[in-house]
Subunit: 532 residues, 2 copies
Amino acid sequence: MDMLWSGWGDPAAATPLPDAVTGLLRDLLGVKPRTTGPVPLDRIDVPATPLDAGTLAALRAAVGDDPAHVRTDAESRVRHTRGKSTPDLLRIRDGEVDDLPAAVVLPGGHDEVLAVLTVCAVHGIAAVPFGGGTSVVGGLAPARSGPFVALDLRRMDTLLAVDPVSRTATLQAGLRAPHAEDLLAAHGFTLGHFPQSYEWATIGGFAATRSSGQASAGYGRFDEMVLGLTLATPQGTVVTGRAPRSAAGPDLRQLLLGSEGAFGVITSVTVRVRPVPATRIYEGWRFPDFRQGAEALRRVAQDGPRPTVLRLSDETETFVGLAQPDAIGSAAPADAAGCLAVVGFEGTDDDTAHRRAVTTALLREAGGIPAGEEPGRRWAHGRYHAPYLRDALLDAGAFVETLETAAFWSRLPDLYAGVRDALTAALTEAGTPPLVMCHISHVYENGASLYFTVVSAQGDAPLAHWTRAKHAANDAILAAGGTITHHHGVGADHRDWYVREAGDLAVDALRAVKGRLDPAGVLNPGVLLPTD
Amino acid sequence: MDMLWSGWGDPAAATPLPDAVTGLLRDLLGVKPRTTGPVPLDRIDVPATPLDAGTLAALRAAVGDDPAHVRTDAESRVRHTRGKSTPDLLRIRDGEVDDLPAAVVLPGGHDEVLAVLTVCAVHGIAAVPFGGGTSVVGGLAPARSGPFVALDLRRMDTLLAVDPVSRTATLQAGLRAPHAEDLLAAHGFTLGHFPQSYEWATIGGFAATRSSGQASAGYGRFDEMVLGLTLATPQGTVVTGRAPRSAAGPDLRQLLLGSEGAFGVITSVTVRVRPVPATRIYEGWRFPDFRQGAEALRRVAQDGPRPTVLRLSDETETFVGLAQPDAIGSAAPADAAGCLAVVGFEGTDDDTAHRRAVTTALLREAGGIPAGEEPGRRWAHGRYHAPYLRDALLDAGAFVETLETAAFWSRLPDLYAGVRDALTAALTEAGTPPLVMCHISHVYENGASLYFTVVSAQGDAPLAHWTRAKHAANDAILAAGGTITHHHGVGADHRDWYVREAGDLAVDALRAVKGRLDPAGVLNPGVLLPTD
């Protein structure tokens, strides 16, 4: 199934906002209902492909000479235009397709990707790897000095190998996460990677962007699961990973993970897998405030065995009910005081019971109050629902967007305050004072992530307003010592801040890598790394 | 204190071989006692430094104009010649100092390192970072197209910062491990990094070579502890690490870790620290054979909470007593049947008790027989003793050397057999049939390391014989799907096999990084990466 071109997910799964939420938006944020919907897909003005017949023939020859594997029709190209950030959605809903690919190319395997990249390098056409198309950071919108093709990897959806002794699996890059889980489940294994984009995103995208899932406390981030990678570049193939860990030079896997298509196309990934858990328990905990809740999470991350899921909403997110998307519009305010945490355990019965007992003791000692399994159940049921909610909010005339960062524990309070203040000030100045919500959803011994959700009225110029607010938030993140992104990636949107974070010399070193692997500069130009 | 120039460690701590061992060597391997000892240090023929007065003055100016910080005397230069592999020791004992540095430079901090590197780049002098001088892979012997200076980092031995909330510490690169532990202990913390070189090696060296300690099962490898790095290069400074984990591009830390001085000089490292453990327990377990013991370790690594120490000697290493260096020469053969494992737990009382209980159940189920705390105590007491033992073996006329690798669990049996066979065949052909011992000392969910110790008679040409045997072992490692090094590093000795492992394109990408950071090519040339 294809995702809704103008929003998120399966169109049949879209749900309208509860009346309570619509009322809240109106009363609290002055949101005015929109009177117009998205431009119909068939009304979007799509120019003919700029590629000449020779180039198209060369691309077709690279992918088995099947015309279905090189698509230049309007709908295919619109569906591969940019990603799923709120600015992306606002622009495509208005029919603005400036970042339209010249063609959509569907390679069937590593060798066909190599062949396509060779054609691109020879013809000077940029290539943008396209997995689930869920980027929210402009990762699919290259700097447009000429035409580019979207390299849709959906045909590469095979489980290539399972090694039950080593507990590893080799997956092709175009596998969507649920499909990968189904294939692994047939062998008794799970990957345990469940980001919010789970239902649509792909294995290759997880690797290229250093995705982090909602069960990262227990299963780790995707970049921690990866044991090996195969990369196709215009200069040939890189294969990494002969052992879980090695002292053989820099870790090449960690050089390719997060490279966002700028170094090549990740065609397959060897990952750690784990037995499908016998038990899954998610439960709620309440804390008087975010500070105390964050301290409790730190305590668990540093002193306890790790739960599988560990997240904490701040007071605003708890009040609005976003901590349990399934409950939005139904939560009575009395039930929503303080801060809600969701703590989950997956594994064998014994191991789960032990970790739960120790975690329970730590959370109680840190001032937490058990809230039973209902909040956990609601969180689990609604865990992939937030992007649908965003569509409904946009339809209702609200602006909603998310951003995220991470830092060491000692810097987290300043980072939290700094980003909230920056967003609030910028959007208030724009005449659309926002509601800023936050949660911690990924914890480490030494720090944690912060994930912000911003809701405001759309106002008269939501794109311009948001650009200013987002830049202010980016500046605030760097000023408070955070990283510009914990799991969304750099894309084009974070690139300038990424350069400030990494420093010119380090960025130049990465550009030297790109120069070697992609001398023609055709790989996702302007994404991750500046073009010049 | 300086290390013994012609061997290992503190000369006062050297101990002769027990008579039982000398007898075993004679009877089993035909080892003939040596009649000559090392050439005295003051008899070694050391040429005057090739550096001219202007260059020396520039180097002195870079390090505070203190003559003690730029040393050209014979003893200082001999003490910085190569590292501590057995070939290194055999050569220096014979007075062969082909790899002598032109000077030993002692910078006092990051800025002085930058200044020295600038001088080196301008004057075309290679620079070799020197920490504990414990490399066993030729990491201190650059390709000599001209003179080089040893950059001894011993003056950079400060604990720069402790963040007790985030549980991180920033350590200067020249800190020796025991000193670092002392400084951290004053804050209630430990690094938990205890490689065999612990008593001499430095923080910077651990980072540059991806060191792995004997407690890696519990504390992780050094490259897993590192949260941030500062690197001095001839082109300026790189600073990394604003969060424990990030999606902001490739992980630059993992690009610099393992760079072995080829990309720059690591001047400080921010690491994860942990509370000093309340409890430490090490105990022995016996298994009928290595295969069954390895399966038990895999079971623990995949299904249990992790012990802090987990190691298993094969039948030969168990028989010889090397599993408990403190017991060598005293172990009765009856006590040494099958394979000995050492399992250790460090942490809080509760956590240690829980992990020990679960591990005990898993090991029993896997066929293990508890052997009490005595073998663990002996292992812990002798854990840093093996390099001293090597000196005594060399004195006694034996040849002894180690090498190591890692692979996924499913490949481990073939890797074990392949390396053993290669070493045995090559040294038997050379007329010095060896005893080949092995242990697993680092385990992961998906694989483990293998550490081999080879003992034979020295014969008439031990260097030439060993070179052939080592190359055969390297070939066998790659053929069996292992990595060329799990924790010793690449150096000059593994470079050619590293290139085969990583592949030409990946190596070229790393050379592009080097070209950007070190355009004059003065950083440890020929170590890690080929020069041309």
